[in-house]
Symmetry: C5
């Protein structure tokens, strides 16, 4: 899809015939913007014929294959940047390559997929002469500036997201953290990888003082650079915060396992104590419930109360033995082990 | 909010009319300081009219959007730094952008939110001629110097905090460590991200020997740089110490789980031994408590004592079997496994 | 194995006698390509005699011993790159050294093992004059270009692989992740180590504007560089994603252990409660099943119902005790502990 | 505390009156060393009066506030280094700032806290003319050289410490590792942060060939640099080794937990088997120990032996069921699970 | 220990008197190699007298105190490298400092401990004139070349070692991994720290085109550099692979704990079910085995069969309750939990 808009003598003309591109852009004071989406061979040929772009750059525009970069040629500059977007459906970051050919009197933007920001600016250029009047370099700045605004918004969303996650982890709500982490890490990584070289491109543009990029444009690119540097810094900060949160999450899960293990231990020690007392006792009671004729104990005087004494003795031995092992955790709010439980209590939501 | 203070002929005048800014700052020997908080369009316009600041810098001062940086123009330098603060209520670090326009005879400070340090210095400048006498560049130094003092204090608080945490972890007190970690990591990260570029700005200021920044001022900025470098280094050190503490904490939690698991194991082995002995015994006792007419054993002579022999034999077999498996951990201070318990003992507070 | 192809006067001649290499490559307009596989001493000598290559480079071509690099000599450039491949049998990355001697009228490629891409281009050169016509430098570009295409494909496979793994981890399917991780990490590391210096070589080639490498060839190498830079970036991104996935995997395993531990705890608490109730009760029942003549209780009126009262009392005490300890987790969908189970539920596949 | 020593005409004079510093240091061939500890305002003033040191450097000497650095002025060089020490009581590293003012004929050393090395060299200078004869720059070298010797010793202590820890971890002795780690990491980090910039200072000194630092002195500083570079390298190596040891420690704790979990599992499976057999059996025996008049089974011929058959059948079913589940781990040296135990065995001390 | 070998007029002379070193090395065409092991004061003096080496370099040769480096003086170059070795007894890497003084007509090698490679080359020099004929610079290259060969071999051993470890971890054999890791990490770290600066020294040598290092020698050093760069790269790769393997190992141990925990859980749930059924049943049977005269139930018609009904009811309630809780894991190949077991199965050796 090719569309174009021309400003000449204060008049806006749309959809210029490719055959006339060369001619109209050569007119003094004319500014021509050509936006090409999903470039076909034919479009590429038209561009080459009109402006003499090099084959390789043109070929590269047809696929998403390059990192952000700036190549300067005699009559034009070739700029590759990535338009970042957020796909709400999948919660994923999208990266779309956007190529600029910046000439003295023309701007060619090429992209494989539609980019909303380019669309909007193009429509503004169709409506008002104010947009094209600023010239190809500042037109580039306008588009990049809007894309940086989008990045600011995206990074703000992550800021809030991470703060919320931190407070959820600190308060022990652990739903979906693993999944969230994977998603956010991927998104931030893609942003970083995209913004890093983009920042360098802007830095280069800001330092270039050529017929293509006026001193004024350079100053604007410098401001774009400063703002993108801050976005980059924020992405980097967020990446570290997510990593710290991931670690804190793992600590928290360990602490939970610790807490549960403690409770299990208390229950098992109690069970063991009870079994240690009552298994022998029940056995003895069973023995004297047997029906052997020979069980002379049945009629031995004093044997029955003595047996109660034995019951008591066994119980006493077991309780003392467990007590000295410090194993009747269930009975006291265990002094030795409660630090962990305390920790868990304190980690819980404070509200 | 705009306020200004002028020193001229040794006299201090306050709240100069914006319309006269240009005029008064042009007088020989005059020093004018304008402090603008939450700049509105009108304030921005006044500044532009009076000093001819560039639009982009002025626009940037209206939001918190830049990393610390230094831009030099013909008649003034534009400096962005971050004033760090500590919000006691939330325990969080605050970063506030503070912009300086340093001219030959004027200083303009712009910030969105109030900054206590700027307030204090402004009040001093209103009271004593000594402050403004030093000129715009050294005035900038004074403000930055005070902000660095604050950073020193903040970093000292973290130093103490971390040392205390280390000793708490080493002594097994684990309350609130995860939460603490998240908080401190975030704070240190923000400090690092803010101080790093700020240090670079100071380095640039220290190397500039221009009409705006005198040789004397450069030396002071150099000292600011040295001191901020130390703060930065300390922040970096603290970040590593917190990371190490976080790791130690995880090791400690694992060690606790290990300890509890060991105790649970000892209890379960004991329980299993008791059950292995008394379940068969009780079953046998139960069998010979049955009331079948056919149970000829009841009257078989010697069966009853023989049964006691069987009871003893079963017990013996079980005890020997468990002993050889090395499973009666509860009885001896288990030689094979006590290294962990020892470790835990030693890790406990030494006081 | 040595094979050669010569283009001269629009005619293709194959397998030139090594003795004539020097002569034919000296003819104006001739382009000679010699491909040497597993070079023997004799081949090395022929090359030295014909083109005067330095001993050390020639010696190095006989083993896989160098990182990608570019050495420029008076009459030729010596380029070492690695041809990356994917061995489907073992799932491993293969790295094969490929050495180029780029002269004005000749190209010598040397490799120890066969490289499919070189094979294919060689066959094309035998069939069509179009290949050799472009000259040694662009011939080098063609081979490198195809190798980069292969790298793109490999990196795309990893992209898909990682995304699938991420969704498998997030949905709790954990088969073979450890093994997969080790394999992918090794592969990505080897790619990175190979592509990094290769990118630098292309960058150097792109900046060289010499009789050996024409301005046109330099532009093509620049494009190769840009494309390889993107592959490198993607490899780097993938490495970070795999590391994040590995961490997420460990978190997930911990979460599973947590879940199982919770269930075990609930079962054990229930068991302990039941044992705490019924062990004493069964003991008492056993006592009053004993056959002692002295057991006056048997005929004491009201003792039997009273015993039922005791049974009830013991039950009540135990239930209340456990209830207050909050230990009858099995009965209610435990409020205190269900957050983990919830987390596990939510982490499960959403489809 | 101020002390000074002067070498002039081969004679040593001590404690020169501050008022005469300027005068005596101006004499040809004189070498004056002034050592100031915990500088007071007065001392600072004396130094300024005598040598004209800049205010800022003098102010900085009064607190521990700078990283190692080198500032060159017209008549003197200002050098800040850190003297590292090891506090045996607390096992912590101490860092003390040591400032040098190196002039042509004088050396001023300033430090807040006492530094043993400076003390020793000062006493040597009081005893023998050989020390001061070498001049201020080489005097500086002598002090720094001794401090580097100390660093070598400290780093050697850590070397041995780490090797011992590694072998203790590998052999399963785990006492106090967490605490040790925290302490050593902190110490190594402080050393690194201190030595890094110090090394840079020495590098600068070695490259300076000025009236203050003779060519000979520069060579000695170069050697100091080389030696400190090695210390730095060793500190870095140790940091990585400690990190690796910390990781190994965590792996070892996990392996222990694994081992204990395995033993617990075996005990529980055995307990479950026994309970599964004897709980039903004991119940049945209990049933036929009941005293109901209606229990016709008591007199049914063959019921009693049949019951024994039932007992046997239940036992058989349970044993077969557990056997097929592979759950009677206690009986065989479990084939499926013993790899871990083996691992644990092998990890144990080999002596 | 000092030994020397001189080539002059095609004749080899051994053990030249130190007093004649200066004289013989001054003869045109002479090449003198002096190898000094564990240098004593006397040897150092002889070297100084003969060649005028600087004191500091000479002093440094007497201890193992420097990182690899290159210092160029007027008449000689001072090169420090580390000879890496592998001590088979302890499985540890050894690093021995080897110092070269490269003059126009002499080479002095100094080392504290014996170095096999130097020994071998020295013996060759004693036997054949071909070695010394190449001159001091190429002699240095020969020794370094051999040392690099050794490094290649060492790094290949680690390559194989790591691949074996990876497959052992992936197949669940976990013997001695922790110990192995610590050892290999230490070895690779030492190699890296040694090879890094050594590579830089070679790079410097390769760029030096001086009377001491001929253009030819520089080319050879360049090749040494290329080859050492590959060793360095391989060491780096191995370090990352070991780190990845260590992580995989920890994941594997966690997975094992998970597996065992699952089995324990199944056993405990089964035990709890059985106890929940038979503890109440056995109690009831015990109650009706009591001998109270008042137990009218004994003669109540229908009570006995009703009791069987109660037995059945309790059993039913328990089974249904556990079934609905999804807790009878032992009975079915648990659908909900088997993913982990599956994972474990798949992770096992595939052969």
């Amino acid at each position: 899809m090719i569309r174009s808009v021309l400003l000449h003598d204060g008049k806006i003309t749309e959809d210029i015939d490719p055959a006339k591109w060369k001619e109209v852009s050569a007119k003094p004071g004319a500014v021509l913007w050509i936006d090409v989406q999903s470039p076909k061979r034919k479009a590429v040929k038209s561009l080459k014929d009109a402006f003499g772009f090099d084959d390789i750059s043109l070929e590269d525009t047809r696929s998403f294959s390059l990192l952000p970069k700036l190549d300067t040629f005699k009559d034009y500059a070739f700029v590759v940047i990535h338009a970042l977007g957020y796909d709400e459906a999948s919660g994923a970051i999208t990266r779309r390559e956007l190529d600029f050919f910046i000439g003295k009197s023309f701007l060619v933007t090429v992209h494989v997929e539609p980019i909303t920001t380019v669309d909007k600016v193009f429509k503004e250029a169709q409506k008002s002469t104010a947009v094209l009047e600023r010239g190809p370099a500042l037109l580039t700045h306008i588009i990049i500036d809007r894309l940086i605004d989008l990045s600011y918004q995206m990074v703000d969303v992550f800021d809030d997201d991470i703060e919320e996650m931190e407070s959820r982890i600190a308060s022990g709500q652990m739903e979906g953290i693993v999944d969230w982490q994977l998603r956010v890490r991927r998104a931030l990584l893609l942003m970083k990888k995209s913004i890093g070289p983009q920042r360098d491109v802007l830095n280069e543009l800001a330092r270039r003082d050529s017929p293509l990029i006026s001193h004024e444009a350079a100053i604007y690119f410098r401001d774009d650079y400063d703002r993108l540097a801050r976005v980059y810094d924020q992405v980097d900060t967020n990446r570290e915060l997510v990593a710290a949160a991931a670690e804190a999450y793992r600590s928290m899960v360990s602490l939970r396992i610790n807490e549960i293990t403690l409770r299990t231990n208390a229950a098992i020690e109690w069970l063991t104590l009870f079994a240690s007392i009552f298994l022998p006792l029940t056995f003895l009671a069973g023995v004297y419930g047997m029906n052997f004729d020979q069980q002379a104990e049945y009629s031995t005087p004093g044997f029955y109360p003595m047996l109660w004494g034995v019951f008591g003795l066994i119980t006493l031995i077991m309780v003392v033995f467990f007590w000295r092992k410090g194993w009747i955790t269930i009975l006291h709010k265990a002094e030795k082990l409660d630090f962990v439980t305390d920790a868990v209590e304190r980690e819980k939501p404070k509200t």
